[in-house]
Assembly symmetry: none
Homo-oligomer: 256 residues x 2
């Protein structure tokens, strides 16, 4: 077991895939060494190796939800890593549904002793596997393509908490209308999470600032001043007014 193993594991879980050269650079060792360290990890099945890169061992799943997991993959991984940086060990967070939130959940696996309340079964499942976390699944009736709950019980569970951060996502960002989601129930859950949070964290990839979806969308309630927007590209100046009350964090394409 090498001292670099945990660093490699983290990089892989966080980013899904990472090249040998990147790791060599990040760890300040030669590529050959990286390969040597990785070999036993592959044998143990902790990571998978393809030509040119090492990728997370987690395989399974193809459904529509996970399809979206692959759009803007690198951007979302970078954003998720930045969000995970904002959260401390022992933190208390609420996390909503959405593919970006799924990435955030993956990234948060490096944190310890988290208390998490979420209405997404995927997020709940991911984070409850981590020893020491306290995870609460809000709601029981799950929606059939993303495994999220929006029933009465979900609101009741959420309302019983007080969290440091509400980690939210949106389908689109509009200069005047703000952060938009597709359905009323998503808006309601996001609102409920914002209400119990000292601070909201809105995680949206750059594409959300450009997408001009034709479908009707609903605006989320306004976030508290001082809330944090995490994205991977500096938004167009047209968004200045909208973003002024907030702290905008730009996630770097990321080194190790």
């Amino acid at each position: 077991m090498s001292k670099y193993e945990t660093a490699i594991r983290e990089a892989v879980t966080l980013r899904g895939s990472v090249t040998v050269a990147e790791l060599a650079d990040a760890l300040d060792v030669s590529g050959q060494t990286v390969r040597r360290i990785i070999k036993p990890m592959v044998d143990r099945g902790e990571v998978r190796k393809v030509h040119g890169a090492i990728v997370s061992a987690r395989s399974e799943m193809d459904p529509p939800f996970l399809a979206r997991m692959h759009e803007q993959q690198k951007e979302k991984a970078a954003i998720a890593a930045m969000v995970a940086q904002l959260i401390d060990d022992d933190g208390i967070v609420a996390i909503d549904t959405g593919s970006t939130s799924a990435y955030v959940a993956q990234a948060l696996r490096v944190r310890r002793n988290l208390t998490v309340v979420t209405n997404s079964a995927f997020v709940a499942s991911t984070l409850s596997m981590i020893e020491g976390n306290r995870v609460f699944m809000a709601g029981s009736r799950l929606r059939d393509h993303d495994g999220a709950a929006f029933d009465r019980a979900a609101f009741d569970v959420i309302a019983g908490f007080k969290v440091d951060y509400a980690i939210l996502s949106a389908s689109e960002v509009h200069p005047e209308r703000g952060f938009l989601v597709q359905e009323q129930c998503e808006k309601d859950i996001a609102g409920a999470m914002m209400e119990i949070a000292s601070c909201s964290v809105m995680a949206v990839d750059g594409a959300k600032f450009r997408d001009t979806g034709r479908r009707p969308l609903l605006s989320l309630p306004r976030m508290l001043d001082g809330s944090i927007i995490v994205t991977e590209a500096t938004p167009d100046s047209g968004f200045n007014d909208l973003l002024k009350p907030y702290r905008v964090e730009i996630a770097a394409a990321q080194a190790g």
Copy 2:
């Protein structure tokens, strides 16, 4: 116990890993001394030692649950496939926690329009991704290594259903004591699921018939006559009495 121990512990937890040379420098002692001090700490399991460094003992990520996902992998997959064969499209099932159940959930992705009630976030997440399924997550407070709920809400949700099959698993099978699980709460959930089911399906791999766990185990309530046992190897004749009231299905080891 050396006066340097707490300093070392702090350095390790703080930084995740630290080299012997760094510690020697910081504590102003020789490297040999550092090794000598660390030796008993390693024996006690407080820290871990690798060539070149001391690393935190907190095994970041080898959740016992996912570890078990890989034991008896082929057997469990065969059993799961057989269970999935018993369930029809449009079926209504309850599924409990456990690595075998996780495989069953995977296998059940080939079925359509299932109604599922489970106390496992992993099972819920897996099956809710399938278009057309109705999945209910029973419970909100999730246990931290397998993401299963055993709280009051879990029982309430389960009690509100009536299902065709309760798909259960056990830690061990004993000729006289029957099907055994490790904890009271697991027994209770299994019992609750059996009560709402017309028929129970017990999925246990052959190893469960042999394992002679020394730890104290609890017997599950007796299943209805006609319930189904699915395993991959014909049980020893010593189990004849126990299994007589049931239908035993032997899953053929499958390709892939």
